[in-house]
C-alpha cells in the first residue's frame, strides 16, 4: 500500500523551496522593523540612557515619556488635531468624490475625459506650489489655523485620487443594475445608498485608507496654514528642540503613537486594498 500523501504536503512539494528563502525573508523583515523597534526602545527609556549607552535591551524601562505626551496639552492636542482634520478630510473627500466618480463612470458629457485627466494633474504638482495661495486665502477668509482649513487643503490632493479609485470600482458594476433600479422605481439617491454603495464598499474602504494616509503624513501644507489651534502632531515633533536640548524619549514616544492610527486603518482595509490593487486603480 502506498502511503497516503496529505494534500498540504503535495501542495508544498510542487512548490520549489529556495534554500535561502527563509533567511532572506527574515533579514528583510528585520531591516524593515529595526528602526521601528529602535524607536519603541527609545520611547521607553529615560533620556540619559538613550544618550549615554548603546544597548539593544533597555536597562531601565519607564513610561514617563508617554505620560508626558498625554499630560502636556501641546502634545496631546496636536495629536488630536491631526486625527480630527484627517478624519474630516477623509469624510469630506468621500462625500465630494462619490457623486463625481459616479458621473465620470456613468455619463458622457462634453470634455469628460479631459476633466478626469485634469483632476489627476492636481496630484502631479508639488504641494509647495500651493503653499502661498493657501496661506493668503486662508488668512483672508478665516480658515487659517482651523481643522476645516487643513481638511479642505488636503482635499486638493485627495479628491482626485478618490475620484480615480472610486471610478474604477464603479465602472466594474454593470450599468444594467442602475437601470433595473430605475425601472423598479428607485430614486437616484435611494438607489445610491441602498443598492450602489454596498456594492462598492471595498472601493470606499480603499479610498478612505488612501485619503487618511496622505492627510496623516502630509506636513508641509498642514504646518504652514496652522499655528496653534490646528497644529499637526508632525509639526510639534519638529519643534522639540529646547534650551535643554532634544527630548529624545518624548519624540520617540510621539513617533510610536503617530504610527498607531495608520496601523489601525490598514488593519481594517487590508482585504479591500488587495482588491484595489487587483483592479489596477491603486
Amino acid at each position: 500500500m502506498p502511503a497516503k500523501a496529505s494534500p498540504v504536503a503535495v501542495a508544498a512539494g510542487t512548490r520549489r523551496q529556495l534554500p535561502w528563502a527563509r533567511t532572506v525573508f527574515w533579514l528583510y523583515v528585520a531591516t524593515l522593523m529595526l528602526p521601528l523597534l529602535w524607536m519603541f526602545g527609545m520611547s521607553i527609556r529615560p533620556n540619559e540612557d538613550i544618550l549615554g549607552s548603546f544597548a539593544l535591551i533597555p536597562q531601565r524601562v519607564t513610561f514617563e515619556n508617554y505620560q508626558t505626551f498625554f499630560t502636556d496639552p501641546v502634545w496631546y492636542s496636536s495629536y488630536l488635531n491631526s486625527i480630527i482634520y484627517t478624519s474630516m478630510n477623509a469624510v469630506l473627500s468621500l462625500i465630494v468624490a462619490l457623486p463625481a466618480a459616479y458621473a465620470f463612470s456613468r455619463f458622457r458629457f462634453a470634455g469628460d475625459r479631459f476633466l478626469f485627466f485634469w483632476l489627476l494633474t492636481n496630484r502631479m504638482a508639488p504641494p509647495a506650489v500651493f503653499l502661498l495661495p493657501f496661506f493668503q486665502i486662508y488668512q483672508s477668509v478665516g480658515l487659517f489655523d482651523t481643522h476645516l482649513g487643513v481638511a479642505i487643503a488636503h482635499m486638493l490632493f485627495n479628491v482626485p485620487l478618490a475620484v480615480w479609485i472610486l471610478e474604477g470600482f464603479m465602472s466594474g458594476i454593470p450599468r444594467e443594475i442602475d437601470e433595473t433600479a430605475a425601472i423598479d422605481g428607485y430614486s437616484l439617491p435611494r438607489f445610491f445608498v441602498r443598492i450602489f454603495l454596498p456594492m462598492i464598499r471595498s472601493g470606499i474602504g480603499v479610498t478612505l485608507f488612501f485619503c487618511f494616509m496622505f492627510s496623516w503624513v502630509e506636513l508641509l501644507i498642514a504646518r504652514t496654514i496652522t499655528s496653534v489651534n490646528a497644529k499637526p502632531i508632525a509639526a510639534t515633533m519638529t519643534r522639540t528642540v529646547s534650551a535643554a536640548g532634544v527630548d529624545w524619549g518624548l519624540l520617540a514616544a510621539a513617533g510610536v503613537l503617530t504610527i498607531i492610527p495608520g496601523a489601525i486603518v490598514i488593519w481594517f482595509v487590508r482585504n479591500y486594498v488587495a482588491k484595489g490593487f487587483a483592479l489596477g486603480r491603486v
Binding site: P174, E176, T180, A182, I183, D184, G185, S187
Partner: protein
C-alpha cells in the same frame, strides 16, 4: 392595454440603430425575433424608456410616455445577463419593486414574493444571495422580480440566451405557461427561431434596424415573405443558391426546373433551401440533382450535418437524420424537392408564384 411605437427612430454616433419603427402591440405576448445586431435590444430599451428615441413616440394605453422617466413608468425588464442586486437576498430582490410602491402593504408583499418564487421554482432559495445561485436560478430571480409587480409593459430581452441548453428548454416551457394569461403587454425578444416558433405568439421580425415583417410565426416560417424573414427564422441557416428565371423556368447551377403557377419575371433569383430539405437519396421523381463533393460531416447525435461543395464553389448543408458516417472528399449527389424551394427575387422579396409547400408538383 396597448403599447404603440410610432415612427420611432434611433441614431447614435452617426449610426442608425432603428428606423421607421411603427408597431402596435396588443395585450398578451408578442415575440420579437431578429439576428445579431438587428436592433432588438435598442427597441426594447426604447419601449422601456431606458433610451429616448431620436424621433418618434412611445404610447402606452393611449398616453404618450416618450418623455416620461423610466422611474415613473409601469414597466419591468429582464436582461440577457443575469442582473440582480448582489447586496440583497433573493427575497429582497423580488420584493424590491413592491417595496417602492406604497399601494402594497407588508403582508401583501410577503404573499406575492412567496407566490411568485414558488411559480419560478426558487421558493427554497429566498434567503440566499444572488451570487450563491446557479445561472439558471439567478435568471429565475430576475424574472421573478420582473413579474412581482403587475406592470403595463413587461420586456424580456433574450432572457434565456445565456443559459445552457437544458435549463433553457425547461425555463422556456415555464415561461410559456406563465405569459398565457398575462394582463399586460409582454414583449419577448430572441435570436432563436425555435423559441419564437415554440411560443407561437404574434411575431415581429426585426432586421438591420427595421421591421421586416409582422405576423403569425408559423405562417412566416412556411411562407416567408422576404429572404430576411426566411433567414431569420431558419436554424440551421438557410442555404442560398443563385438562379436565373426565364420563360417560366429557373436555371440553377446547371439544373433547370419549371416554376409551377404564375410565371416569374425573367431575371436573377435567389433560391432558399432549408438544410433538412436536402437529401442524398432521391425522394421523388421531380427532385433536382446536384453533383457534389463531401467536405465535412458534423455529427450531433440525432442529426448529421453534411457540408457539400456544389459546382461553382457553392456550399450546401444537408441535415440528415441520425448518425451517418462519410468520408470527406468523396463524391455525392444532393437532391432537393423543387416544390419546397423558397424563391426570392434579387431584392429578397418572395416571388408570388411560389406555391404552398403542400401543393402537389409531381402530378
Amino acid at each position: 392595454m396597448t403599447l404603440i411605437l410610432d415612427g420611432v427612430r434611433v441614431r447614435q454616433r452617426g449610426e442608425t440603430w432603428l428606423e421607421d419603427i411603427d408597431l402596435e402591440l396588443p395585450n398578451g405576448m408578442t415575440t420579437l425575433i431578429g439576428p445579431l445586431a438587428a436592433g432588438k435590444t435598442t427597441l426594447m430599451r426604447v419601449a422601456a424608456g431606458l433610451l429616448p428615441p431620436t424621433s418618434g413616440r412611445v404610447v402606452v394605453n393611449g398616453r404618450d410616455v416618450t418623455s416620461i422617466s423610466v422611474r415613473k413608468r409601469s414597466v419591468a425588464f429582464v436582461y440577457q445577463q443575469f442582473i440582480n442586486y448582489p447586496s440583497l437576498s433573493v427575497y429582497e430582490n423580488i420584493a424590491s419593486p413592491l417595496r417602492l410602491d406604497p399601494s402594497f402593504p407588508r403582508r401583501e408583499i410577503d404573499r406575492r414574493v412567496h407566490e411568485i418564487a414558488e411559480i419560478m421554482g426558487i421558493g427554497d432559495l429566498l434567503d440566499r444571495r444572488p451570487e450563491e445561485l446557479s445561472g439558471g436560478q439567478q435568471q429565475r430571480t430576475a424574472i421573478a422580480r420582473a413579474l412581482a409587480r403587475p406592470v403595463d409593459v413587461l420586456l424580456l430581452d433574450e432572457p434565456l440566451a445565456n443559459l445552457d441548453y437544458k435549463l433553457r428548454e425547461q425555463l422556456r416551457a415555464d415561461l410559456k405557461d406563465m405569459f398565457g394569461g398575462s394582463a399586460g403587454v409582454v414583449l419577448y425578444s430572441t435570436a432563436d427561431p425555435a423559441e419564437a416558433l415554440g411560443f407561437a405568439a404574434p411575431t415581429v421580425v426585426l432586421g438591420e434596424g427595421r421591421i421586416q415583417h409582422v405576423g403569425d410565426v408559423a405562417e412566416m416560417y412556411d411562407r416567408p415573405p422576404t429572404l430576411a424573414v426566411a433567414a431569420t427564422l431558419s436554424d440551421p441557416p438557410l442555404n442560398l443558391l443563385p438562379g436565373l428565371a426565364h420563360d417560366g423556368r429557373i436555371d440553377c447551377l446547371g439544373v433547370s426546373f419549371p416554376v409551377p403557377g404564375e410565371r416569374p419575371p425573367a431575371g436573377r433569383v435567389v433560391l432558399g433551401v432549408r438544410p433538412h430539405q436536402v437529401t442524398i437519396e432521391r425522394t421523388g421523381p421531380g427532385d433536382l440533382e446536384f453533383p457534389a463533393e463531401i467536405r465535412l460531416a458534423e455529427v450531433t447525435g440525432s442529426a448529421t450535418f453534411l457540408h457539400l461543395l456544389l459546382p461553382g464553389s457553392r456550399h450546401l448543408v444537408a441535415q440528415l437524420e441520425g448518425t451517418r458516417l462519410f468520408t470527406p472528399g468523396e463524391p455525392a449527389t444532393a437532391y432537393v424537392d423543387p416544390g419546397r424551394v423558397l424563391i426570392f427575387d434579387e431584392a429578397g422579396v418572395s416571388l408570388p408564384a411560389r406555391p404552398a409547400a403542400e401543393a402537389d408538383l409531381h402530378g
